[in-house]
Symmetry: C2
Subunit: 387 residues, 2 copies
């Protein structure tokens, strides 16, 4: 089979845009000097660092660029955001759903071990957090909410999260590692206090992310050593990646609306096509529109185990993710599928289709054909198949 | 002034070798798939990851490649190595000098806050650790030693460190973030249990490092979330950087001896030239030879404050580091200079010259001329100069 491959696992890892790569390459060709150097080479590096920081701040709509701390990626941004807040306040309560990304969940559990309380936010059948039912506790608090869910693609209502945080006197941590860019975001409007971003999910390189901290928020440095990032994140700056991230952020700021529109079109062709051609398909999470990331589809195919189907789809030239995008060893069933009340069979059948900046609407018809072909092949191969 | 610049701040950040860059570029041009993907793109990424892991293990002389965990850099490798050991054992004693890199020092202090004891290893006038005077305590212990000192360039005697660790029943943590490559290393011969490496100090890219853990060593994951790196380090793998690091490690394994020899020659021209032409110069740490990294010189110039001299040297086309390579805010005087008993004036005058893989012996004569010129200019500019 010699078909051109279609790659729809962009949330796990995506290719670089041309300008991002060119700008990274420019910096990689330099002396390699660190921004801390007092020499000309160091000053040049420092200027690039400052420019990238400004670009990420602008992307976030943040007034204070100094609030941006570059990290090694989304995971570190999440972990240092939550654990750094916990270290700073000493004790308090975390408010989060039971379907957060493992980076958030494990940070919360680390704080729980130190005596923090965890209050779980209920989730409805589409994966939307239901704030109205939650009771806030006194003392320090951190509301942890994601922008778009990493498995379901469901977009959360941040105004409700913020209102709850205000009512409770808690700070608001936003996990934007999934959804940023694809979902419009302005941290000042949202009123977030801590925001985590992943570079590669914005079309930037891997190995870089950012934690934005609102000035005055209690927080302690998590990775200690040298004095980089204003004494807030030690370690030689990954300058080429930071520059690439900055460019990616700037492109989103400029082209975000158009990108969201185009991706939404491609997503619609894919989703509608699958639902039309494959009668065992079920879309999980919210329906297409403002409450779903335009880059994300979560399907189950009745009776087909996810990993097997993903392997068959790989054979017919379609790369997707079988099972949750990110689970810990103990999570045999994706927590999000459990949280929305999916049946166990559906939970085991979860297939994620995630679009990237280079996913073309034209490819989606062909992707649909391949999904139908793969489902058909696997169904026929199963013993006792009723097809 | 239009002279070609000479860059001698390689320990802070260095340029990439041609093959390292080409291999990184090859991977950057791919789909960007994560090694966790079950599809063809993921398998290709996984093969690259495995190959790089093997190369780093070979470089270390480690029998067990699975012991290599890729991190975001040397700082994370150090922090997660020491703090991860501490989390795993719960309580015990750390043995370390008072001139370790801030990443080591701060990890030790974090554990001290949790009840761990700190025992300081004395240092002689050349920066060598004096193990014979140290008394081991009962219970769990971790001996923290560096391969080469980040400011002085002094190479430590690892056999003595290992003997002390064995006598005390402690594990041995080796901070190889400075010195690896430049100083021959075989973790099996040394008998180290945990080893931290920095990618960029080996000619690889920034944003990547490694923690090697001997099988069976008690240790707990420090960055949690996804299941990457065998559940030991969460976060999407920075594959292009890991591949570059692997190539850099392989090159060191093949060419290390020749590189050390060439660098030693260049270093000698620079050191001898400075000592001959600048009568106020003083070399700190060990003399040139096996006990000093061949890429590292620590000088003070009597009566000249380091930062001012570094600025003047920058003006005459020589990029060096003025002051310690890495200090925390509270360290007004580099701890190493204090530890070796340097006078306060000397400590404030510390200039680091660090060589890289592209530092040519031919450049060193010119570097000497520029040092002499810079010292002369600054000396004459000082009020009340006796020159």
């Amino acid at each position: 089979m010699n078909r051109e491959r279609i790659y729809l696992d962009h949330a796990a890892g995506s290719s670089l845009g041309l300008r991002v790569r060119a700008e990274m390459d420019r910096v990689l060709g330099w002396s390699g000097a660190a921004p801390s150097g007092g020499h000309r080479e160091g000053r040049e590096a420092r200027e690039e660092l400052t420019k990238a920081r400004g670009r990420v701040a602008d992307f976030l709509g943040a007034k204070d660029a100094e609030g941006v701390i570059f990290t090694s990626g989304g995971t570190e941004a999440v972990q240092s955001g939550i654990r750094g807040w916990g270290e700073a306040v000493g004790k308090g309560t975390l408010y989060l759903s039971s379907m957060e990304h493992p980076a958030v969940e494990s940070a919360a559990r680390q704080l729980e071990k130190k005596g923090f309380g965890l209050v779980r936010i209920p989730v409805d059948g589409e994966g939307k957090l239901r704030w109205e039912a939650v009771k806030g506790l006194s003392g320090e608090g951190l509301v942890c909410v994601h922008l778009a869910h990493h498995d379901l693609g469901t977009v959360q209502n941040l105004s409700e999260a913020k209102r709850f945080a205000e009512r409770t006197g808690a700070k608001l941590f936003l996990d934007g590692t999934h959804g940023a860019g694809w979902v419009s975001l302005d941290v000042e409007k949202v009123g977030a206090d801590l925001v985590a971003l992943s570079g590669h999910r914005l079309g930037g390189p891997k190995g870089v992310g950012a934690l934005w901290i609102r000035s005055g928020t209690r927080w302690m440095s998590w990775l200690e050593g040298g004095r980089q990032e204003g004494d807030r994140r030690a370690g030689t700056e990954n300058l080429s990646a930071i520059v690439g991230f900055g460019v990616a952020a700037e492109e989103w700021r400029k082209d975000g609306e158009e990108r969201r529109k185009q991706s939404g079109k491609a997503q619609k062709i894919l989703a509608d096509g699958i639902l039309k051609k494959v009668h065992t398909a079920k879309l999980h999470g919210t329906k297409l529109g403002a409450e779903r990331s335009p880059a994300h589809l979560a399907f189950s195919f009745k009776g087909l185990e996810a990993e097997s189907l993903a392997l068959v789809l790989d054979r017919v030239g379609l790369a997707v993710r079988g099972g949750s995008g990110c689970v810990t060893r103990e999570m045999k069933i994706p927590p999000a599928m459990k949280a929305i009340g999916a049946k166990e069979g559906e939970a085991r059948a979860l297939i994620l289709f995630t679009l990237g900046l280079n996913s073309q609407a034209e490819q989606m018809e062909e992707a649909v054909t391949r999904v139908a072909e793969g489902v058909d092949r696997l169904t026929k191969a199963l013993p006792g198949s009723r097809e």
